[in-house]
């Protein structure tokens, strides 16, 4: 692969995440986040933006062909806009590719969640299961996460207490994040004694749903230098899909995260992730997922993530802060926005704009996402204050 020029994040906009937003439609939250992002990047979408990428799935929205409903509130009427049916971080990777074709200088990426409009979330998730072999098994499809967690604990010797420590850390981190829906001061006992859900997952191991929208403005290096003094550079992106087929997947390991990271590290010329990545925002939709993903991303050795968490290494004052934003456990589970939640925090940290949760002297961070049950699809981005 030939060496690629860097792409920068030059604008971010976020509505904040909340459990319920009955007073706003999805169009209104998209408008709010977009307006903030355009103001941050100091751009007029009608004149200055070359392409728009929105991330959505029909079933989350309750519409067929949902992309019909997105151009007006983004300022994208009669502009090149399209939808990827994917998490926002794959949307970011798509924008990255568009800019590298040389045909687009500025690209907007949008993802939103109105999960509170979904009356039967588990039934929608069940519709993602294979209709012939898996769906007839019935039950809440999060049982798949329970099975996976069991396998992960078994293979790595990780304990439930270590998983609970992830919840305690991330919910506490969220207290310092004004965008987070679920900041809380908990202890390990609270997690272990919360209602059993999908053994070994308890209620507090599972990230609760949230509404919200995030919009990013990306630019080529040439355009970025004109737009901002604080560009955050996308040094590498990677994404990958393992099978969504339950019968033939790897249950203990997050292969998709490993392969996506391999691609992103190669592009970013990261040889030793543990040393070169200073902080990470990783998917923690379920408590164990943060640990499983840290191992897949080679930020620690296999079986080590739980211990590092117990020792406080992944805490905000630790050597490798993880999910300082609060993660999905603290900010809320917003389908398809999760990757952009991670990118937003990484960007704010690298811009020194994270306020009370700012980590000092960071140069390079990582954002990672997973598309949730029942998928085995994930993406990774390596972001940096400096070009490589």
């Amino acid at each position: 692969m030939k060496k690629l020029e860097d792409v920068a994040i030059v604008g971010v906009g976020c509505t904040g995440f909340r459990p319920l937003t009955p007073e706003f439609s999805y169009k209104e939250i998209m408008f709010e986040a977009a307006t903030r992002a355009y103001a941050d990047a100091n751009v007029n979408p009608r004149k200055d933006i070359d392409a728009f990428v929105t991330c959505a799935e029909d079933y989350w929205e309750g519409h067929s062909i949902f992309d019909e409903f997105v151009p007006d509130q983004l300022g994208a009427v009669l502009k090149p806009l399209f939808t990827v049916s994917a998490d926002g971080l794959i949307g970011l990777a798509t924008a990255y590719m568009l800019i590298h074709t040389g045909q687009f200088n500025t690209v907007v990426v949008e993802a939103h969640s109105k999960a509170s409009d979904i009356l039967t979330f588990n039934d929608i998730v069940a519709f993602a299961l294979d209709p012939i072999f898996n769906r007839p098994l019935g039950g809440h499809p999060y049982y798949i996460a329970g099975l996976e967690m069991n396998r992960f604990l078994h293979e790595t010797g990780t304990t439930r207490e270590q998983c609970a420590q992830v919840v305690v850390k991330n919910r506490r981190n969220a207290l310092a994040n004004a965008c987070a829906a679920y900041g809380a001061e908990l202890n390990i006992e609270d997690v272990l004694q919360s209602e059993p859900m999908f053994h070994p997952l308890n209620r507090l191991d599972i990230s609760p749903l949230a509404d919200g929208c995030i919009v990013l403005v990306l630019a080529s290096s040439h355009a970025a230098k004109k737009l901002t003094d604080t560009p955050v550079w996308v040094r590498g992106v990677g994404w990958n899909s393992d099978t969504s087929w339950l019968e033939s997947r790897e249950w203990g390991k997050a292969i998709y995260a490993k392969l996506a990271a391999r691609m992103a590290y190669k592009m970013a010329e990261v040889k030793n992730p543990r040393r070169e990545i200073q902080f990470a925002e990783v998917d923690d939709s379920f408590s164990y997922k943060e640990l499983q993903h840290l191992e897949a991303l080679q930020l620690c050795r296999c079986g080590e993530a739980g211990k590092l968490t117990e020792e406080g290494i992944t805490g905000i004052d630790g050597e490798m802060p993880v999910n300082v934003s609060g993660g999905a456990l603290g900010m809320g589970y917003a389908p398809e926005v999760l990757g952009l939640q991670r990118v937003l925090e990484t960007t704010l940290q690298l811009r020194d704009q994270a306020g009370g949760r700012q980590i000092s002297d960071v140069e390079t961070g990582l954002a990672q996402s997973w598309r949730g049950i029942p998928t085995a699809t994930g993406a990774v981005a390596v972001l940096s204050r400096e070009v490589k």
Binding site: L78, F82, L98, F127, N240, D242, I255
Partner: protein, 388 residues
């Protein structure tokens, strides 16, 4: 101006298009993918990335349909993403494949489009009842044929076009499809047959409409240096374009598709085309309804506004005419498995430019061709320009 890398199509594959195929969506993807890889003399080992396209999940009833198709599309443990722009998806999936390679991120990309409409009971048209705004339009009981009847009426009224002139498109395309081995509704019919067919929603009659179908299509794309090792006969993607108009279709004049013109201008600019009717040798505009072929010829700037019916009556758009339009038989003749139908058009131009279209081959050694699709609420245009 071109992207950083010139992108070639080196293989194409297509399944049968039928009302009700026994194969699952995954199996259809496999069939088209295998044929495309075989035709290029490649295997999955040679594929770096997969761009997938499919229209509403409501047909299959599978949420996150793309994830379900990962295995069938040869994307297992590869970077995979799904684009979705309603009826425009098929041609747009080829555009997506283009940026995977033109960006320099990948040397090869497999482009796969699939649709299995027959799973939707009692009729696939029911999936379209959920594409309308839930507050403003759905309570009216709006159907897809309704709104296209409005558009057809407006187009006829503005230019004084008669139904007899429009019916010629259906006659031509169904006849062209007699030579297509995958075709679902090939037939020798007359203008009288069209005018006497069942009235669906005036002025739309049964033979004005393409059928609902199952099917899949695939392409193999490669960067210039890799393509030259694979084949002596590559077909180059020299222009891509796409555009979305406002959601509020009630607020614009339906007689002309501005968004198709904008998408075409984007593609023509990239391909350096200044005089489309002179420089395009063969075109596959989107023809889910017979009037749409005419409407789109005008939007694509292949003729003046209101002039397409005249060219059709004069035989200019016949396979042996000066500007062959839909030599494949189009959606009216070959069938309309939505995303797959759009990509079928790109496959057809690929075969026409390679001189491999058999009995469908247009005379005169065509060098430049175009395919276009249309989607959403009469609001999306996607275009691709190919050159030998």
């Amino acid at each position: 101006m071109l992207g950083k890398k010139r992108v070639a199509i080196v293989g194409a594959g297509l399944t049968l298009f039928r009302r009700n195929l026994k194969e699952t969506g995954k199996e259809l993807c496999y069939g088209a993918t295998k044929m495309a890889l075989d035709s290029a003399g490649l295997t999955l080992k040679d594929i770096d990335s997969v761009a997938f396209g499919s229209a509403p999940d409501a047909f299959d009833g599978i949420h996150m349909k793309g994830e379900n198709m990962v295995d069938g599309s040869g994307a297992w443990r590869k970077p995979f993403s799904r684009v979705f722009v309603g009826g425009g998806t098929g041609v747009f999936t080829a555009d997506a494949g283009w940026w995977h390679v033109a960006s320099g991120l990948f040397d090869t990309c497999l482009v796969v489009a699939e649709e299995k409409m027959s799973s939707c009971y009692p009729h696939p048209a029911y999936a379209f009842t959920t594409i309308f705004d839930p507050m403003m339009s759905r309570p009216l009981g709006t159907t897809l044929i309704w709104i296209f009847a409005l558009e057809m009426h407006r187009y006829m009224h503005r230019h004084g076009i008669k139904k007899e002139q429009i019916a010629l498109v259906s006659v031509k395309n169904k006849k062209n499809a007699l030579d297509h081995p995958c075709a679902q509704l090939a037939a020798n019919i007359t203008v009288e047959d069209v005018l006497n067919s069942e009235i669906m929603c005036w002025p739309v009659q049964r033979l004005d409409i393409s059928p609902t179908s199952d099917g899949a299509a695939a392409l193999v794309l490669a960067s210039e240096d890799v393509a030259k090792k694979i084949t002596d006969n590559p077909v180059w993607i020299d222009g891509v374009g796409w555009c979305i108009d406002s959601t509020y279709w009630t607020n614009r004049d339906l007689y002309y598709p501005d968004y198709v013109e904008y998408a075409a201008r984007m593609a023509y600019k990239m391909a350096g085309i200044k005089n489309p009717p002179k420089e395009i040798d063969v075109a596959e505009p989107y023809d889910p309804f017979d009037y749409k072929e005419l409407h789109h010829m005008e939007g694509l700037l292949l003729c003046k506004k209101g002039e397409a019916p005249k060219l059709t009556a004069e035989g200019v758009t016949q396979r042996d005419g000066d500007l062959p339009i839909n030599p494949s038989g189009g959606l009216l003749g070959v069938g309309n498995p939505i995303a797959a139908a759009g990509l079928m058009k790109v496959c057809e131009i690929f075969w026409q430019l390679r001189g491999e279209a058999g009995k469908r081959q247009v005379p005169g050694d065509p060098r430049t061709g175009l395919a276009q699709a249309w989607g959403d609420l009469m609001q999306y245009g996607s275009v691709i320009v190919l050159r030998r």
